[in-house]
Amino acid sequence: MKILVCISKTPDTTAKIAFADNNTKFAADGVQWIINPYDEWYALVRAIELKEADAATAIHLVTVGLADTDPIIRKALALGGDEAIRINADSHDSYYIASQIASIAKEGNYDLVFTGKETIDYNGSSIGGMVAELLDLPYVSLATKFTLEGTNAIIIREIEGGEETCKVQLPVVVSCQKGMAEQRIPNMKGIMGARSKPLKVVEPAAMDTFTSIASFDLPPAKAGVKLVSADNPEELVRLLHEEAKVI
């Protein structure tokens, strides 16, 4: 079994969101970077669990990013990936990123490609579906459970107001979210071991981009909270009914 896990880097969830260069670039100065939580907690950890159940499993990691992504990919290796490929490019165009990942995936003949549900910075929720289409593979999005049954995968995915269980023959592309696995902390052995695991850097293939970010805006500041006394909750209900008109 060969699994490819797509790893992206995102600003720490508490990072201050600000923009530079006339609001055309994210102000990354002093920002702490983390592995995108969906990629780490769910996609990667579930892959590691599959390997724990079957030692013949290989976990390859792929990231599209510049050299500043290396600490992130090393951390993913410390958690349990076997080897990693970094495609040396910086892009926020989903099609471009997906094309790069798909070209690696094609060469590697993977049984499974895992992505996270979405990146928590650009919130595309698109890469998995694009990679699947580029590889002409089935795609199960927003998976909360994943098990193997021979050469089939049994997957539970979230749908409006509930969930759906489905069965699909490998290979398949799956986007992973909460429920797939539990967050893990890398241990010392993993961290030491990660240093000697292969991290291959490849130059990007020539690919199209479909979109570009023209600028960023911050949402207008909230007017401030209107506090109602704890002794007078009727007033809150009145305000919601008459002023905000939401109930």
């Binding site: 099609y95 910075d121 698109s126 694009m130 289409e133 927003l142 023209a214 109930i247």
Partner: protein, 321 residues
């Protein structure tokens, strides 16, 4: 040329978020001077001529039970065929579960740039620029789509639709349906409740409620308001509430008209999932709780004392005693 809107259905009814997508797609069509057409796959009970109210002139249907479960590959093929047949230059989805499964595939298939999570009409004065949510609701990006065909998936609850009394023409779209490689073996839905992703009012509880035995305060208010219930992450993690209620950065991101937060501190990761709500009400005994900074209305007080009074006041307002 036209705008094609994908209308998603569940249990043979068009979803609320799809009507919003229809209104949004029709507004784009008007803006660029083309017709708005829609496509519905599977069997639906709704009278599709009424989609005219949202500005749609033609509804293309493929009535086949095999399409009542969504397979991204099968749907992509049919929507791509329809888009090509009618010469669609803009294709609109709702950014819901199925939109997230299909739109990216279609983007590759049609070599059409995709913006997912749009929150406003595109700016078409020069080029085609779509405003979308980024950084989990903490900012917006204005994204230029540089391909001939454009795909937009609209975040639910971000466009207000105006309706008219027009009627749409309903036409069967002739196409071949490929076999789904993903076989759905069972579905499990919470019945009788509006799904969290579509809810207009959400009542949510946090660790401040001390234990699952106190959730009556949340569920009773929710029932009175016709709301759906939600919770913070630790509440789902400890097992006080089911996982699908977890909202936030790592849970569901929602944008209801009213988000009522009880005993939730308002950590940045929680806010990331709820900050697009139109009105936020916070009940917290700590006046320093960060949630008050993001709130529109609030009461500093003990939920166990305040909530029964709020419930009574709502009953009084609704004329229930």
């Amino acid at each position: 040329m036209s705008v094609l809107i994908f209308l998603d259905q569940a249990d043979n009814n068009i979803k609320k978020s799809s009507f919003e997508a229809a209104g949004y797609g029709a507004a784009i069509a008007k803006q660029i001077g083309v017709a708005a057409e829609a496509i519905v796959l599977g069997t639906v009970n709704d009278d599709l001529t009424t989609l005219g109210q949202y500005g749609v002139t033609k509804v293309h249907t493929v009535k086949n039970d095999a399409l009542n479960n969504v397979d991204a590959q099968v749907f992509t093929k049919i929507i791509a065929d329809a888009a090509t047949a009618i010469g669609a230059t803009v294709i609109v989805f709702s950014n819901n579960f199925n939109g997230k499964a299909i739109a990216p595939r279609l983007s590759v298939r049609l070599k059409a740039g995709l913006v997912s999570g749009a929150v406003a009409l595109p700016d078409t004065t020069s080029g085609f620029i779509v405003k979308k949510n980024v950084f989990s609701g903490k900012a917006f990006a204005n994204v230029s789509i540089n391909t001939a065909i454009k795909i937009i998936s609209l975040n639910p609850n971000s466009f207000s639709v105006a309706t008219t009394s027009a009627m749409a023409e309903v036409i069967e779209f002739a196409t071949t349906i490929t076999d789904a490689k993903v076989k759905v073996t069972s579905t499990d839905k919470v019945v009788g409740e509006v799904p969290l992703s579509e809810a207009e009012i959400v009542v949510s509880g946090g660790r401040g409620l001390k234990g699952p035995e106190n959730w009556g305060l949340v569920t009773e208010l929710a029932k009175l308001l016709g709301a759906t219930t939600a919770c913070s992450r630790p509440v789902a993690d400890i097992g006080w509430r089911p996982h699908h209620e977890h909202v936030g950065q790592t849970g569901l991101a929602i944008a209801p008209n009213l988000y009522f937060a009880i005993g939730i501190s308002g950590a940045i990761q929680h806010l990331a999932g709820v900050n697009r709500s139109k009105t936020i009400v916070v009940i917290n005994k700590d006046s320093e709780a960060p949630f008050f900074k993001a709130a529109d209305y609030g009461i500093v007080g003990d939920a166990f004392e305040v909530m029964p009074k709020i419930i009574d006041a709502v009953k009084k307002m609704k004329g229930i005693s």
